[in-house]
């Protein structure tokens, strides 16, 4: 295909996509004029009902908690798939891969960043239903803090925290915990994932009934899932086959 034809095809395709984009945008509500009813309902209902000050997390882990369970299980299934594809062969002990970071500045600030990232992640999970945050975001932040170990130190520093014998049960605990909290409602004769406990005090960690438990289950699941994922990719790409 000559350059001329390719540019012609791009211009034609670009014109079509551009037209569709403009066509779709013309009818959008103007900025700040939200049309759906649910946002207004939730904004009014969440804090009086659940004593939770963060409406987004209350929506994700309570009002549409069943959808979130599905999302969490998608992540679980995806990570399981990656593990099934990448884990089978025996690998050499990594030993010294010669990937130590040379720069002292990177090592010092990186080591500080490891603790900072993990702490911020735990804080995002813990206060996810009081201020913006939640299990998903916090879980990724915790995992990224641990992955920094590989970036700023070496594979050898990262390997002990990424053992599958430790991570797999933790991931199962997170995913299973969410399911069990839902089942607890069934056992009490209520619909699945009904918010069980009292609403607590607004603006404190003791608020939201089941939301803190579901939130922590999701946080643990996401953090462990990402660590398993990174560990599988790193093993696949970095450690030589025996």
């Amino acid at each position: 295909m000559t350059r001329r034809i390719r540019i012609g095809m791009f211009l034609a395709a670009g014109a079509v996509v551009g037209f569709l984009l403009v066509w779709a945008s013309v009818d959008l509500p103007s900025f700040g004029h939200y049309r759906g009813p649910y946002g207004y309902v939730l904004n009014r209902v969440v804090t009086p009902e659940r004593h939770v000050t963060e409406v987004v997390t209350a929506t994700v882990f309570d009002y549409r908690g069943f959808d979130t369970l599905g999302e969490e299980l998608i992540l679980f299934a995806a990570v399981t798939g990656v593990v099934l594809l990448l884990r089978p062969e025996e690998r050499e002990a990594a030993g010294n891969l010669g990937d130590q970071v040379g720069s002292d500045a990177v090592r010092v600030f990186g080591a500080l960043a490891v603790g900072l990232c993990v702490l911020v992640g735990l804080w995002l999970i813990a206060f996810g239903y009081v201020t913006p945050g939640g299990g998903f975001q916090g879980g990724v932040a915790v995992a990224s803090g641990v992955v920094l170990l590989w970036l700023v130190a070496s594979y050898r520093a990262w390997e002990p925290v990424a053992r599958d014998t430790a991570l797999d049960p933790v991931e199962g605990l997170g995913a299973g915990g969410y399911v069990v909290i839902g089942l607890a409602a069934l056992w009490s004769g209520l619909p699945y994932l009904t918010n069980l406990f009292g609403p607590g005090t607004s603006g404190t960690l003791v608020s939201g009934g089941s939301i803190p438990f579901v939130n922590w289950a999701a946080g643990i699941e996401v953090a462990a899932a990402l660590l398993v994922l990174f560990s599988e990719f790193l093993d696949e790409y970095i450690v030589p086959l025996s």
Binding site: T57, G133, A141, S144, F233, Y237
Partner: protein
């Protein structure tokens, strides 16, 4: 009004996103692309924050500035190991 003071910041961030998005696509060197992509995502994070969506900003932060670059870094490590 708080809205009036935010408008210049919003415009600046929209401009930054408009400049950085093609810069990511046009970067030839993969490592440079990862770095520019980091700046692009950072601009998006602040953009969402300034437009009053801290939850979306957080999600963007962890996906765009943390998860995706790490995957890219792993991929880069691999391609370097291959060419060595």
């Amino acid at each position: 009004m708080i809205v009036a003071t935010l408008v210049p910041l919003q415009l600046a961030l929209l401009a930054a996103v408009a400049v950085l998005a093609p810069a990511v696509a046009l970067a030839r060197n993969p490592l440079r692309m990862v770095v520019i992509n980091g700046f692009y995502n950072w601009a998006l994070v602040v953009l969402f924050m300034v437009f009053g969506a801290p939850d979306v900003a957080l999600s963007m932060l962890v996906v765009g500035a943390v998860g995706y670059p790490l995957i890219l870094l792993v991929a880069l490590t691999r391609s370097r190991a291959k060419t060595r």
